[in-house]
């Protein structure tokens, strides 16, 4: 295969070096090279959004990006949302309190997508706005309603 490239990324506040093939997806890099398996891949085509991570604060499909494209950039994955001692972050706690997850597979992407949304709409906005914000992440379990309620609750709760 083609020559490997060095990639250096900041993930959840810590810098990581990797030696990867240029074609290695960001999702595989996170999951297999960095053992951050909280990022989940469900369609590999960019349609379901289950692999969403934050790249410099904005959601990206990690299955559609190559790891080398993230070189020098800053990533947040679900593993970065809880406090260092494991205490659930505000959004995570809101999902827990409002039954915002069932099988948990889309949950990391939902949390990160909601995180991005609440940065832009700290007061939570309307249900319609929340629904639009998460419409790129497919959940097969919940029917979304409790996810919407979780995000609204997180906006209303203490930071």
């Amino acid at each position: 295969m083609s020559d490997k490239r060095v990639v250096r990324v900041e993930v959840n506040g810590a810098w990581h070096d990797g030696l990867v093939e240029p074609r290695r997806t960001l999702s595989d890099f996170l999951r297999d090279d960095l053992d951050l398996t909280g990022t989940h891949v469900a369609c590999e085509n960019g349609f379901c959004g289950n692999c969403n991570v934050l790249l410099d604060g904005e959601t990206v499909r990690s299955c559609l990006m190559f790891a080398v494209q993230a070189d020098g950039r800053s990533l947040t994955t679900v593993e970065g949302l809880a406090e260092p001692d494991g205490t659930l972050g505000r959004l995570q706690q809101a999902f827990h309190d409002n039954h915002g997850l069932q099988c948990g597979f889309c949950t990391p992407a939902m949390l990160l997508t909601a995180h991005e949304y609440l940065e832009a709409y700290p007061d939570g906005g309307t249900d319609e706005q929340i629904r639009e914000a998460i419409s790129g992440v497919i959940c097969r379990c919940t029917g979304y309603q409790h996810i919407v309620e979780s995000i609204r609750a997180a906006a209303g709760g203490a930071a």
Binding site: Q92, D97, G104, F105, S135, R140, G143
Partner: protein, 818 residues
């Protein structure tokens, strides 16, 4: 109906857990799920998250043709690719493995890799084991297969005709199974009835489509000969030995380890293709091998596409709206294999008359083989389809009589005083108050307001429609539904138990072991924690839950048919009862009071009415484990109990199958009302109101039940409006990615109000009934009804799903000219 037919152990559990005067302490509360935190932190440990030392990776080559002979396979280029460990074809399977398990009849053989010919698009033709998945997929592209294409069988009606190409030559026909069941005097009832309606209805092929696809890691230990398979399959304790048969190893040498699944919805119900495959690959190379379906393979080559049915259905009724008889004829397109048999039609027969007093029923089935992916389970397991058929007929009857759709249903509901109610097929409905559920949903939604609203909107030229539908929700299958189809079935299992092991350790902590699954989106850990909290008055969050592998598992059946909560609660209650007896004896000794004066409270045992005379579970457990001489003389050390809880109420079918027996008796009931507005120019739907009321007996956790109802409903909306696996004229799947297979998004889903009524089952632990599938049993029927109502000015009758936006526009404005 005599309760003497009940399983004696289950009857004891039912007695001991029946409602008490005081409210329950922990059951019935919307507690946060104990499963959640690890998933919220991204520590779920799904199949693809697991790495074993030295693990290799597999990818598969799927057939580009729907029906073709395999003339030759050249693997040399693939084998030459650096990083490739082995290329595997049907030849290896023929040499080293036996066919996959099948619950169908006749010579319908399926192998994990096609051997002589392929029978559907995407069927596995070869596999590559390599250092990583990238190389494995690269190598698949280098495999050269020469095919000879065969005539493709796609239309199940044409497939039944003389001269059609055959999917399985050995069967000598494409009709794998055909039978008519008759209950009561159907012909006479149709003749005597004042009226009847008939409809030809089509239910499209879709699939459960969990976000986490099927996956497994095979790990063959050459030293011991044990094949360990980590898999996100469920129900592994039920038919595990069949997988061992495919691998040609003794069942005791197979160890299945259940792994968390990111959703199933039927698609992982005894899912064995992938685990068998991974085990086989591992045996070939003597190393761990991971195989996870990609989305394309999951869509084109999974274990369980859903029902694909053409119906000719009729309902006979009198001028006053009283239903008399039901006649249903179905041609079901099973695809290329009959792996899971005709159980989904057995399921339909458990509640074929819905909540209505219909006395006479005829049900004909032709199960047809075609060149498509095999059919199996999808949430509802066939009963969601039959409910759509029934509710369609009821709406047509209401229209025929010009009778209100609520009123015609109300007139036919089984009255509250008639339970347990025996349906014409022989299955019973254990308990119910259907009139109560109807009254509640009408009140919750303010039905009269919306009828008025609709009238005003219509006067303004708007297209507002109301759908009102009911459904039964049968729960807890017994195995007879899989074989009562046959006069001389080859295998007639009657067991479908569930087991639980409860251990109170020396320091008082409760550890539970479950025996047939891992967590897959349901809430098994929350359920058992709430049950144990109820029994011992401990904090549910303190309960530890783990899952046995198959070599350590007690009898189990696993999730499916909304059985798990009922069955695992029974098993945990049974084990708790045994432990509580022992604890009472120890406490009675220590506190010097009669056992009858003791109660479980505050994480221990106390004397009734004496707050300070109390022992913690830890005090008792430490004695039980460490101080044998302080125990009553005949009592052995330890504090652990196992309970295998059998199906509480099931009976055999009779010889001529005019009575199918009791096989799905814990039956919930639900009504949904939807108010929608249709934009006839775009076909877009807007939900103005969506309300559901369900009666699932005693509720363990109202909020998680709401989650099941809402999630199931939205999944049913997908079936109603968007989802269909499309095969082209050559039998190739046209929508093999999410780009063209649309799953409901947050913008498509309504906000749903969920209400509950609780009519306990007299037969189950605590009176719980299953409730995982109800939403999908109602949503297709309600969308059909609501759209039909909104488009009533155009005389629309919904007879097939999904109802696309294009279809709505065409109904309202005529076919598109562009």
């Amino acid at each position: 109906m005599s309760i003497a037919e009940q399983d004696p152990n289950a009857a004891k559990v039912a007695r001991e857990t029946a409602g008490t005067e005081t409210p329950r302490r922990w059951l019935g509360k919307s507690l946060n799920r104990v499963e959640d935190p690890r998933f919220l932190r991204g520590q779920g440990r799904y199949l693809d998250d697991i790495k074993l030392p030295g693990m290799l990776h597999a990818a598969v080559l799927g057939s580009p043709h729907a029906h073709a002979k395999i003339i030759s396979i050249d693997t040399s280029k693939a084998e030459a690719l650096p990083g490739v460990v082995r290329v595997v074809t049907g030849k290896d399977v023929a040499e080293h493995a036996a066919p996959l398990p099948s619950f169908g009849a006749g010579p319908i053989v399926q192998d994990m890799i096609a051997i002589e010919k392929v029978r559907h698009y995407g069927e596995t033709v070869a596999a590559v084991i390599a250092e990583n998945r990238y190389i494995a997929e690269d190598a698949c592209d280098l495999i050269e297969v020469v095919y000879e294409q065969l005539p493709v069988v796609l239309d199940p009606v044409a497939a039944r005709e003389e001269g059609s190409a055959l999917v399985h030559e050995a069967l000598e026909t494409n009709t794998a199974y055909e039978r008519t069941f008759s209950f009561g005097e159907v012909d006479r009832a149709f003749e005597d009835a004042d009226r009847s309606v008939t409809a030809n209805l089509y239910w499209p092929r879709s699939t459960g489509m969990p976000m986490d696809t099927n996956g497994a890691i095979g790990d063959y230990d050459r030293g011991t000969g044990v094949v360990t398979i980590h898999a996100n399959s469920m129900n592994f304790t039920y038919f595990l030995w069949l997988i061992a048969g495919s691998l040609k190893i003794p069942a005791g040498k197979l160890r299945l380890v259940p792994v968390v699944a990111g959703g199933s919805f039927g698609s992982k119900f005894f899912m064995h293709k992938v685990p068998t495959f991974a085990g086989f690959l591992s045996m070939l190379v003597g190393k761990p091998v991971k195989y996870v379906e990609d989305r394309r393979t999951h869509i084109t080559n999974n274990d369980h596409h859903g029902s694909d049915r053409r119906y000719d259905a009729s309902l006979a009724f009198d001028d006053d709206g009283e239903f008399k008889a039901l006649r249903i004829s179905c041609i079901d397109d099973y695809g290329a294999y009959l792996q899971f048999g005709t159980g989904t039609h057995g399921n339909a027969l458990s509640q074929i008359v819905g909540p209505y007093r219909i006395q006479h029923v005829e049900y004909s089935l032709a199960a047809v083989l075609t060149n498509k992916n095999q059919q199996g389970a999808y949430r509802g397991f066939g009963a969601e389809v039959s409910n759509w058929i029934l509710e369609r007929l009821v709406d047509l009857a209401a229209r025929d009589l010009d009778l209100d759709r609520v009123e015609i249903r109300r007139r036919n509901l089984i009255p509250a005083g008639s339970f347990p109610y025996r349906t014409p097929t022989g299955n019973i409905y254990d308990s119910g108050n259907y009139q109560g559920v109807l009254a509640k949903v009408l009140e919750d939604v303010d039905y009269d307001h919306w009828v008025e609203y609709r009238a005003k909107a219509r006067a303004e030229g708007r297209h507002v429609g109301i759908g009102v539908v009911a459904s039964q929700e049968r729960s807890v299958f017994s195995s007879t539904e899989f074989w009562f189809w046959f006069d001389d079935p080859q295998f007639t299992p009657t067991s479908s138990p569930e087991s639980a092991s409860v251990r109170i350790g020396p320091t008082g902590e409760i550890v539970v072991t479950l025996h047939s699954q891992s967590m897959w989106g349901n809430s098994p850990e929350t359920v058992v924690s709430q049950v144990l909290a109820e029994e011992f008055d401990v904090d549910p969050a303190s309960v530890v839950v783990n899952y046995a592998d198959s070599q350590n598992a007690l009898p189990g059946t696993g999730p499916g048919g909304s059985r798990y909560t009922v069955m695992v609660a029974g098993a945990v209650a049974g084990a708790s009862s045994e432990l509580k007896d022992k604890i009472r004896r120890i406490a009675s000794d220590k506190l010097e009071v009669a056992e009858a004066d003791l109660e479980f409270r505050d994480g221990g045992v106390g004397v009734v009415g004496v707050p300070d005379r109390h022992l913690m579970l830890a005090d008792i457990a430490m004695t039980a484990y460490m101080f044998r001489l302080d125990l009553p003389p005949d009592m052995p050390s330890g504090l652990a109990a196992h309970c295998t809880y059998d199906h509480p109420l099931t009976t055999l079918p009779n010889a001529d199958r005019s009575d199918l027996g009791i096989f799905y008796p814990f039956v919930g009931h639900a009504w949904h009302i939807a108010v929608i507005e249709v934009d006839i120019e775009t076909g877009k739907l807007e939900f103005l109101r969506y309300a559901a009321v369900h009666d699932a007996g005693t509720i363990v956790n109202p909020r998680t039940l709401d989650g099941q109802v809402i999630g199931g409903t939205v999944q049913g909306l997908g079936t109603a409006l968007y989802e269909e696996i499309l095969y082209d004229d050559l039998g190739r799947v046209r929508n093999e990615s999410f780009e063209h297979y649309h799953l409901p998004s947050s913008m498509d889903a309504p906000s749903i109000t969920v209400g509950h009524q609780e009519t306990p089952s007299p037969y189950t632990a605590y009176g719980i009934k299953g409730a995982g599938e109800g939403g999908r049993m109602l949503a297709p029927a309600i969308m059909s009804a609501a759209i039909e109502d909104a488009l009533s000015p155009y005389g629309v009758t919904v007879t097939s799903l999904p109802i696309s936006a294009e279809q709505i526009v065409e109904w309202a404005t005529g076919p598109r000219s562009d």
